[in-house]
Each structure stands twice: as structure tokens, then as C-alpha cells.
Assembly symmetry: C2
Homo-oligomer: 263 residues x 2
């Protein structure tokens, strides 16, 4: 998907919501266990209930891998289901990969060749040759970790060099040269608006996967929500509840997009 | 496996070799494609030919994932085969994982609960809560990336703070407090002996997964070799050739261990 196509989808749907499919077998409604493939049924119902309200889905690989072969099968079925029924969705493999060149190339083949993801999250620690193999697929994107929103982000991402530059800023600045705003976006879990201002000074045109703030002229944001949406209810009403939650978020986003005169 | 058990295995086998099972379907001998499961057959033969010469195996997850469901099945079979036939081997999942707490916990369950790995490689970028979930399994280890040996290591790992400390040194110093030398080891792809001296000043007692140098009083090293061993020959003699290559490395290691008076 091109950046322009993604922006067109955002304007049409008046939403920049990304629904995180962190599907936990211990958290899905009990009645689903009557189905042949409970996790796929859960994903399918969540997707059907939210597809017109969001522009992206982000399966979290850990949740699927932890189920072994069955989990990989559900993951593949889920991606195929989205591709076939909602081809305008941007699908991010939240896999946090990154390794030496030939190994990253293997991961890229997994997510972009074997499966039809649009993007994969990549960790920057091993540098350029660990990231660039993911950039060789036309129309596919790297979603690179820059600033994460967990407590451990403080351990290394705010390391400051003698010139006052922080590690996550160096990651943004350095890695922005490896690709373009057409094939790279960044995870920026900034919890304060002014942090996003700093980030926008380094990467004004890139898309960011964020909690909030930092819009640019082509929106430039995907806001992810996982548990808040997919576990909005734990009973048979889960899909309707997920839809209602997604509607609330979408309405907020529509307002923000209108204020920014983007829709 | 405890650190003491690992050291005992090293002394008994006079080797601290780790064989990297980066098994590439495009690189295995052609005659294996007559077998029902060529990749497993390849791994099995390599393992049988080298198990008395090494103390660890390290399957590279990317190579298995890139084969989809079949790849995961081969990975599971390979780990089971090592466990059943060579229970003294230390098995490292070279997966470079690392995510927020609940997600890292899922990955830990995959590698330590569902599969019987002894350790998994973890990337440090997301900090403490991305690593500690892997440390909650008795007898299991984190192999944390500190200094990698690829060219991209120069991009961020050598970032220097105002006090002159480099990022990989900060990673070693900070993360060493999250666990102990009984449940953490570090990837240190140092290409110069003096770099290992610096590393040993920070983590004197920990095991290191390295190209070479930096022994301590319980050896404290695992030296990985992947392609040099498993692709020593590309014809039907591949297992014998792998064994011969492993023997050469083991003989060198025995000499080094003797010089250090550890055997």
C-alpha cells in the first residue's frame, strides 16, 4: 500500500484507528469454544464488527506463536480473511524482529512473501543491515521501534550523547535515511505532546504508530488500540461491544481530522 | 540447565562450541529431498555428527518461520530430538525477541513452556520489562544482545554518553542487575580482544556467546559456528564434513581450555 492510499483510506473512513489483534485464548468468550477454531472465530467477528471504523489491523505475533502450529495457522487464516474481505486494510505484523542481513531477509520473506502483511515491526538495535532487507519489497513497510511506551523505554531509549541527542532521536534520524516516508513508519509511544513535537521535527512526513498527538498534512498517524476494543466485553456480545468501542474512538478521530481540515 | 552443569559439559567434552542450525532449504544436499522431511533429516544428521563435539545448538528461528507451518513443525521436532537423544545440550532459540511485559511473557511461554529451549536471544531496546518475563522460568536463560558482530552494530551500539559510556556497555551494566550469571548470558560479537577485556570488566562471571576471546574461570564462553559447520559440504558427505569441521574447532578449543588449566 502506498502512503497516499493509506491517507485516502483515512479520509474516507474518517479514522486512523489500528485495531491490535492481541488475541488471548484465555480472554475470549467461552461460547466460542463450541466453534471449530475459536480464535479465528473471535478475530473474524472482531474484524467484521470494526472494519469500516479502522484502517489497520495489527496481530501481535507472540499471542499466535504461543499456540504453536495451531497459532500460526490462525494467524495465516486471519491475514487471508482480512485480505480477501477488506483489501483496503493495512496489516501490521507486530513481531519486533531484527537480525543480521541474511536472517532479516528470511523474516521479510515470511511476512511479505509467504503471508500478505503490509508491514512488520522491527527493533533497531542491530542497525542498518538488520532493517534494510525489509525495505526491498515494493509497497511494503517497516514499522521501526523508536520510542516505546513501556516503563523499560527509560532504560536505554533516553540515553543522551555528548551533544544532547537521545538514543530514540538518533534512531529516528539515522534510520530515516535507510528508507523513505513511503516505506518506513515509526513506533512513537510518546505520552506527552511536546515529545511528539520533537519527533515531528526529525521526521515531519513519516507515519507514526502512536498513542496520540503529532498529526501532519497527510494525517501521518495510526493510533493502535488492542485490549480496549477486542476485550470490550467478555460474553457473547463481544463483537458488538468491540464495534461500539471502535465507534467511540472513530468519532473522536473524525472530530480531530475535521479540526485539522483533513476531511 | 545450571551454569555449573554447562561448565561441567564443557570440561567433559573439552569444547565450548555452539552449532548454529541456520538450516536453509536452498542449501541442503539435493539427495535429502527424497526423504519425507528433508530439513529435519539434515538437522538430525548434523546433530548426530556433532553432538559429542559441542555443548550447545542454536536454531535460527527465521529459517524455520520462513517455511510456515512446516518450518515450525521441523523446529519442534529438532528440539525434541536433541532433548531426547542428547539431554546434555544447551539449546538456544535464536529469535531476537523482546516486547512489552505481557507480550514477552507470551514469547517466554512459547520457547520455555511449549518447547524445551534452554535460552532465547532477546533484544534489549525496550528495556527491563521486555526482558524479565523470560527470567521467571527456573533453569532457563536469557541470551541478551549487547554487542553484535554485524556492520549495523556501529549505528547505535557505540553511541557514547557524556561520561564516555557506550550503549552496549550500558546494556551490559544495566541488564546484569535484572538477572544473575545463572540465568543471563550476553551476545558479544567483539572482533578485537581488547573489547572483550572491557566487557569482562563489566560482567566478569557471565557466559558470553562470542566469536572468540574472553574466557573466565568457568570458561564463560560459547562460540557459535553456523554455516562453517553445517554447510561444510553440499553433497551426501555433509554430515561427515560437518563432523570434521566441528572436530577441528573442538581440538582448538581443547587446547585453549588446557592452556587456561580448565581441563
Amino acid at each position: 500500500m502506498t502512503k497516499q492510499e493509506l491517507f485516502e483510506n483515512i479520509k474516507r473512513k474518517k479514522s486512523f484507528l489500528c485495531v491490535g489483534l492481541d488475541t488471548d485464548v484465555n480472554k475470549i468468550p467461552e461460547h466460542l469454544f463450541d466453534a471449530e477454531d475459536p480464535i479465528f472465530e473471535f478475530n473474524k467477528a472482531i474484524i467484521d464488527a470494526t472494519a469500516d471504523l479502522c484502517v489497520a489491523y495489527k496481530p501481535n505475533l507472540a499471542f499466535y506463536e504461543s499456540l504453536g502450529l495451531e497459532g500460526w495457522e490462525v494467524l495465516e487464516r486471519t491475514v487471508d480473511y482480512i485480505r480477501e474481505n477488506y483489501p483496503d486494510q493495512f496489516i501490521i505484523a507486530d513481531a519486533k524482529r531484527g537480525d543480521i542481513g541474511n536472517t532479516s531477509a528470511m523474516y521479510a520473506r515470511t511476512f511479505f512473501g509467504n503471508m500478505e502483511f503490509d508491514s512488520v515491526t522491527v527493533a533497531p538495535y542491530m542497525g542498518e543491515d538488520s532493517v534494510t532487507p525489509f525495505l526491498t519489497y515494493e509497497g511494503k513497510w517497516v514499522t521501526l521501534l523508536a520510542l516505546t511506551s513501556n516503563k523499560g523505554a527509560l532504560d536505554f531509549q533516553f540515553m543522551r550523547d555528548a551533544e544532547g541527542e537521545l538514543l530514540f532521536q538518533k534512531v529516528l534520524k539515522t534510520s530515516a535515511k535507510w528508507g523513505t516516508d513511503e516505506n518506513m513508519m515509526f513506533v512513537v509511544g510518546a505520552t506527552k505532546a511536546e515529545m511528539l513535537t520533537d519527533v515531528r521535527a526529525i521526521v515531519p512526513e513519516h507515519f507514526l504508530l502512536v498513542p496520540k498527538y503529532g498529526m501532519n498534512s497527510s494525517c501521518g498517524l495510526l493510533v493502535n488500540s488492542s485490549r480496549q476494543i477486542i476485550y470490550a466485553a467478555s460474553d457473547a456480545t463481544y463483537a458488538t461491544a468491540a464495534r461500539e468501542e471502535a465507534q467511540l474512538v472513530q468519532a473522536e478521530m473524525e472530530e480531530i481530522l475535521r479540526e485539522a481540515k483533513l476531511v
